[in-house]
Amino acid sequence: MGFPVFISLGQSHHPAKRELEKEIAGQLHQHPDFQVTMLTNLYDLKPNGPAIEALRAVEGEMVVFSWNYQRAAHWILDRNDIRGSVGEVELQPDSGDDDDELEDELEEDDGEQVPRVLDGRPLPDRQIYCVNLQSSSSAEDFIEEAERIAASSLGQWIQGDPSEEQLDRFRNPINDTAQGPGSLPPTIEEENGRRWYPVIDFSRCTNCMECVDFCLFGVYGVDRAETILVEQPDNCRKGCPACSRVCPENAIVFPQHKTPAIAGAPVNVGGLKIDLSLLFGKPEAADVAARERDEQLMLAGRAPVDSDEQPLEKRQLGKPAGPADELDALLDELETLE
């Protein structure tokens, strides 16, 4: 058995995308150290379908390639009970921002210790490496990343204590079990329609319940421990990302949404550029969200909520909010940049 690799095929029939998937699949399939399976689009998989079962059957580490941001793919898997910690993936999409160090710093500065749902939820002792296929157009980059991940996680993967010689054999395989050129790994095909539902990033979610209050379509619920969950994903209204806008922690991901921040792009991407559009009259996220929800209510033949009469009630009243504070924060950010 090789290191498990799954390749989730995208919805687009773009030949370049198809070719990339095939090339990665073909090359890794010939690589004796990987056990490769192709799947139909990860987000659309049936909750208890054959593809999810195959993913669940893996107990150790694995790599999952998909056309999703890492955060989106990781939490789609988590919702399907395929759990582990987030494996570090070096190959990431170009965020158009080379200032990684500053980004890291900002991330650490964000040290306000709010308890997250994940804190109270022990994860199995393994890492899941979700690689975004948008990170590169070269199959080589993905092969290298898979090799790097497999090598770096050898300790957990090969049970026991491999000798240097054994490790060396892994790193420099003799290709004698390789398949013929052009052969592809097995594909688990599911005839699924396109789905649309939110995915919660529990490393950010604080269980504040803004989303369950906001969504009027019964998508959200709570489990026995009173923790938020996406209970009825397919009640969600196609195209509506409104709840992710009201989430104060940016914990709700719609993997197929056009806006990277909603589709699960790393939370700090773009955080360095100061967006003044709110000051220049862009509607607040809450207003956009309320409008989007009203649209969906009317599409469903229901009455819209009059936001003026029933303003969105804030659960987190203790938190400072309001335009003045936002402006302060902006100015602070400007100063730290100078």
């Binding site: 329609g193 196609k238 195209g239 197929q256 056009k258």
Partner: protein
């Protein structure tokens, strides 16, 4: 069946069946009972070329405003948002195209249809043109299209 009308897009003859009606956003319309079926005209398909991906913003059964954004399309040559050709209830999407949008290229006036709309009122149908009127419209539109394409290429 009468011969289709032809509009010359450079070297390419785009054909427009006279039995169909046409919307300004380059969709054809065919009245089937009380709904209109829509698809891309030869003009649109020629500009798009191979269609790789089609996505709708919502499921069928919704009420539309004219020009409301419906979804998006990605092809070999372009990507674009798509808008409602007229107001009414969108009753059906062509599900075949979700699995494989190349049906648009293979049979644009047949199996490659996009969706069906039950018009909001009888007057909306007057927004639609016949093939001859569409051709007159295209004379101007073709100039603008060429400018747009050249503008984006340079």
């Amino acid at each position: 069946m009468s011969d289709p009308l032809v509009f010359q897009m450079g070297e390419f003859p785009a054909e427009f069946p006279v039995e169909l009606q046409y919307a300004r956003n380059h969709m054809w319309a065919e009245l089937r009972g009380d709904v209109y079926r829509f698809g891309f005209t030869a003009y649109a398909v020629r500009l798009l070329q191979d269609v790789y991906f089609l996505d709708w913003n919502f499921d069928a059964g919704v009420d539309l405003q004219p020009q409301q954004e419906l979804g998006s399309i990605e092809s070999k040559k372009a990507e674009s948002s798509l808008y409602a050709p007229l107001g009414g209830k969108l009753t059906l999407f062509n599900e075949q195209l979700m699995a494989d949008p190349s049906g648009i290229n293979l049979d644009k006036y047949g199996d490659g249809w996009l969706f069906e709309i039950h018009p909001a009122d009888d007057n909306t149908a007057t927004d639609l043109m016949n093939a001859a009127e569409y051709l007159v419209d295209l004379e101007d539109v073709w100039k603008i299209t060429q400018r747009t394409i050249k503008g984006q290429l340079s």
